[in-house]
Structure formats: structure tokens, C-alpha cells
Assembly symmetry: C2
């Protein structure tokens, strides 16, 4: 392995100068710097991260915990996180907690020991997480815990948009296929529905239960949706919506003619589905990138504070939670309500 010592010998300077030439270019004479840099590239020198991390007290690595990498939602977030982290000079440890709370806690602890900070995408709001986080740098995605910065999408506004869209199409009885019971996002989405319900007395939202946020969950919910007599259904996310559509088709219910379906998140499966799903879009890569930005801001603030400098009032203090806006994407899975306003019988012909 080629070390700073080799570069130093090659360019006729000391190790310290090599280090400075790379880290603080303007503190070394231009001529010397060029010589060092030339030698470094010639030898293919790469600073040993372990050594610099040890000495400088920072590893240059971030951690990312997600519940399921195969879920397109988290795949996109992960992509955004690692892309942004690369720009800020960090590498990202990615771990899949498999929706196992205990494993997740263990992983977060393990990551804190070998990273500068952690981005945590936890599907549910558990108090145990709070103490896990302790004072170690962390940013939450789609979760809110006092004292910990977080980044979320505007679930409430998103659900409101979706509900208004259905109302405008003439739907009056709308089913909601909920996500996991302890899910923070699900709670927020229900909140959005409650607001819609209050604002538009003419519509009626019926929640048909809590389901796993996967295709299987949507399939399982289909019968209940049909039984609810609704003319439109809002799904917790796109995967659930796809499962719904699939099972509905098998039952002879045609989407959107017999039943309008709205997804959430606008992952790529929304465009794959047939019909393509009307859904609520968030820029997931940006969600991940923003989480990294927040985390890096926290790290910088810490570093400044440790050096005794005054901590300028950055965004980490002024705004604990960053909320990304959403957008309704209308595709083919929603249409006007059937001619008869209260068409309670239409879906039942398939039961």
C-alpha cells in the first residue's frame, strides 16, 4: 500500500506537507503543492481512511438504515442518499433492518460506532429508538422524534390532494387501505384524510384496516374495499395499490371504471401497473439527499462547536423538520364516479 510517507519521499517534502497539500491546499506554496499532487497521482496515493479517521475523529462514513431495500421507495431514497453523500465526501454503509425493530436498534448502535452519523428510515414510531439515538448525530426520514432533525414528505397535504381529486371526480364514498399500525406515515396520512373529511362534509372516508405495505397487503385488502361500497380507494402506497388492482381484476372489478384507485409515493411501479396509477408524488432521491444535507449540517455544527467557535444559527436549529412538497400525478387509475351518484351496487356484482 502506498502511504503518505512514500509520497513525501517521492516529492522531497515531509509527511505533514503531503497531508496539508491535500487537505488545505492554500496553506502550502503553489510549487510544492503541485509537486506533491503530481507525486500523489503518479503513485496512486489514497489516504488511509482508517488512519485519518482515527486521528481526525471523523470516519468520513455515514450510515443508512432502511426497512427493506427491495421496496422501490427505499431503493430510491438509498440512491439519493449515496449520491449526495458522495458529493459531500462521504461513503455510505447501507443496512437493511428487515422491519425488525430489535435488529434495527442493534444496527443503529453498531453504525454509530463506525460512522459520523446515521440516516434512519424507520417505518414505525417506537420510543426505544429515541434513547438509541442518544446524542449521536442522526437524521430521521419520515419519522418525528423530539430533538432529532428529520426529513419527511408532506403526507398530510398529499392525502388532501388525493382526496380532493377524487371528490372533484364525483366520488363521495372513499375507502382508505391503511399501512402498518405503528407507522408514522400512516398516521399522518390518516390525519390528512381527517382534514379532508372535515373540510368536505359531502364525502365519507372509510378506513378498511391496517395492512402490510406490500403487494400482498393490497391483495388482502381488496375484499374489504369491495364490501365497503366505496367508489374510490386510497392506498397507503403504490405497492398496496398494485396489489389492490391485481386482486380486484381477479374479482372482475374493472379499474378505474368500477373503482378508482389512488396510490402514494409515485415509485416506478405506479407507471408499471395497468392501468398506470394516479398517485401522490414525492421526489424520493431528493428526500434522501436532503437527509444527508441535514446530517452534514449537524456534523459541521458539532465540529465547529468542538473547536470552541460560535455556532451560527444554521437550519439545524431553526427548523427541526424539513418537509418536502408533494404533487398529485393523475394517470389512468382514477375516473369520474359512476353515473348513479351512490353506486353501492356496482362493485357488489363481483362479490
Amino acid at each position: 500500500m502506498v502511504t503518505a510517507r512514500d509520497v513525501a519521499r517521492e516529492s522531497g517534502v515531509s509527511i505533514s506537507t503531503v497531508s496539508r497539500a491535500l487537505a488545505e491546499p492554500d496553506r502550502v506554496a503553489a510549487e510544492t503543492r503541485d509537486r506533491v499532487l503530481a507525486a500523489a497521482t503518479r503513485l496512486g496515493y489514497r489516504p488511509n481512511r482508517a488512519a485519518s479517521g482515527l486521528r481526525a475523529g471523523r470516519t468520513g462514513a455515514l450510515g443508512l438504515v432502511v426497512p427493506d431495500l427491495e421496496n422501490p421507495y427505499f431503493a430510491s431514497v438509498t440512491k439519493g442518499v449515496q449520491a449526495r453523500a458522495r458529493q459531500t465526501g462521504h461513503a455510505v454503509f447501507v443496512v437493511d433492518a428487515g422491519e425488525d425493530p430489535e435488529l434495527e436498534t442493534e444496527l443503529v448502535l453498531g453504525l454509530h460506532a463506525q460512522t459520523d452519523g446515521v440516516v434512519l428510515c424507520s417505518p414505525r414510531a417506537i420510543e426505544a429508538d429515541l434513547e438509541v439515538l442518544g446524542s449521536a448525530p442522526a437524521v430521521l426520514v419520515n419519522l418525528r422524534v423530539d430533538g432529532v432533525p428529520s426529513v419527511t414528505s408532506s403526507d398530510i397535504a398529499g392525502m388532501l390532494l388525493a382526496a380532493e381529486h377524487l371528490r372533484a371526480l364525483g366520488h363521495r364514498r372513499i375507502a382508505y387501505v391503511g399501512g402498518p399500525e405503528r407507522s408514522w406515515s400512516d398516521a399522518r396520512r390518516r390525519e390528512g384524510l381527517a382534514i379532508a373529511q372535515a373540510r368536505y362534509p359531502e364525502i365519507e372516508v372509510v378506513a378498511v384496516g391496517s395492512f402490510r405495505p406490500h403487494v400482498a397487503g393490497g391483495r388482502a385488502a381488496a375484499d374489504l374495499v369491495v364490501a365497503s361500497g366505496a367508489t374510490a380507494v386510497l392506498a397507503y402506497n403504490d405497492l398496496v395499490a398494485v396489489g389492490l388492482v391485481d386482486r380486484l381484476r381477479a374479482r372482475g372489478v374493472v379499474v378505474p371504471h368500477d373503482l378508482s384507485v389512488v396510490g402514494f409515493d409515485d415509485t416506478f411501479v405506479a407507471t408499471l401497473a395497468s392501468p398506470p396509477l394516479t398517485t401522490v408524488r414525492t421526489d424520493l432521491a431528493r428526500l434522501g439527499a436532503t437527509a444527508v444535507d441535514r446530517l452534514v449540517a449537524v456534523l459541521d455544527a458539532r465540529r465547529r462547536r468542538d473547536r470552541g467557535l460560535a455556532v451560527s444559527d444554521g437550519p439545524e436549529a431553526s427548523e427541526p423538520v424539513t418537509e418536502l412538497d408533494v404533487e398529485l400525478v393523475v394517470r389512468d387509475s382514477t375516473t369520474v364516479a359512476a353515473p348513479t351518484p351512490t353506486t353501492v351496487n356496482a362493485p357488489q356484482e363481483a362479490s
Copy 2:
């Protein structure tokens, strides 16, 4: 941060004993060990990875380079890699190279400086990669380069299975929608088709070109497939197949009635599609896990060699490439060829 020194003071032993109690439990007296371990857990001690990595010459981290995290194929592989790595005591840096060869090279170099080894999923066979790998530990996935261990799925056998399936259903003219031009997998899949063609003279395989391995690629290929007059089509992967089905439907071609479609990989989109896709299955998580196993074997061998011990003839020497077997999964996107053996006119009615 709690260090080994703290644990040592707490349990009344020296730092070295703390280190040994954790790393080589049987080299320290049972009573002492328990005392140390108790203190360690009580204080929440986590060895500083940077420090131990620096001293021991290993970082405990692996690197994974994939071309696109949002592609379900690589999402599954990634999941397998990080799960297995966790079992072997490693953390995984995941980077998305975005199908950019130069970036990929840069990333691999960067990873080698901060990991013990790298798992490289590169879509195309480029010679430049070869020298990049140098002598640093690496394992390739779905790629073959002399001197570098690799793990692949049996593309050739898989394509053969798929072709035989279609032949058995009475199809005689079969189109192939190819993947990227420089793709190693694509070359292998074409190889499988060539074998099928040679073995079964009655069938005729027509390649309709090279497409991006995404839904868009499949959509773009649909017209050519129809024009080819084939009664069945093999797609480079499931995403392409989904794109095909989608565009075909828009053109009025009904799958599988008018045209049978076969995917590849059996990612979850295969089950999402309508109709669900007949496809060739590989256990992708196992693919990733196997890659980690191979990499860890290489690392162990190196470590032994560095200590002057004899290198036992492990699998890393005996078998340079590990090939995972595949399986044909028959779903609803394939059916018997239309009654008229050469039904060249059926698809054209839609053009």
C-alpha cells in the same frame, strides 16, 4: 466516546486484556473474561473500527458497486450482500455507479482504499476494469475476467430452458429483445439461444436489437417484435418484458393470446405484471450472499498467506467462477402458439 481504556479501568485489567477478552476469549481466564465483558456491556463499549482497522490492517468493511439501485435486480443482490456481510462481521459501503464506466472505475479505486474488498456488479465487460482491480481483493457478479473470482447465474442454461418451454408450446419463430451491447449477461443469453437454435432446428430465433435494460427499452422494442412476425418473445430481463407487454397492449396485441412473453430474473415485477410473467428465476439474494462468501474466502486466504501459513486449496483456487442454477417459472404470459402454425398475420392486425 467510551474506549478500551475505560473498560480496562472499570474491570481492573490492562487494555490488552480487554482487547483479548473480546477477540480471543479462550486466551484469557474465564473469570477475567466475564468481568471484562460485563464492564464492556455496562459501559456500552464498541471498539473503534478506525483504530482496530489501522492496526490490524483490515477495515471490516466491504464495498459493493452496482449500476442502478432502483433496478429490482440489484436491489435484491444488494439485500443479499449486506445480509451475508453482516453475518461475517462486515459492513457494506454501497455505491450506485449509475451505469457510468468512468465513475465506476473511480468508485472502485476509492472503495479499495477504505475497504477490505469489493463486490463489483458491472453490467458490461470492459477491459479497463481489469487493471483497476489490480491485485486488490474483488469478486465480480455476472461478469468474467481472468484471474478474478466471480459469481454468475446460469444465463446460458436459463435461456435454453426458456427456449425449450416456448418450443414445447408450439412456438417456432421466437424473437429476442437483447440487453445493452457490451453486456456480458446479454452475450451469454444470446449464447444460450444459439445453442437452442442449433439443438432444435425447427425453431428460429430472431434478435431484434439491443435495448436499455429497463421498461423503456421494452417499450421501444415492441414494434420491432411485432414486425418480426414471431409468436413468442424472450426479453433480456423482466423490466424489458414489462415494457413490452405494456406497449403491446397499447397496440392491441394481447399477451399471451397473440404473443407469448418470457422475462428473465424473476424480480418482483414479474409477479406484478399483468399477466404475471413466465420468467427464469435466480435466487438473487443468494447470488449476493455467494459473492460475499467468495470475497471473504479470498480475504481469509490472503491473511493466512501474509502470516506465512500454507494456503489450503480452498474454493478460491479450485473454482474461479461459481455459477448459480436457474429455474423456469411458468406464469401466465406464455401459452400455446396460435392454431395456425405460422401466424404471421395475427400481430399485424394491430399495426
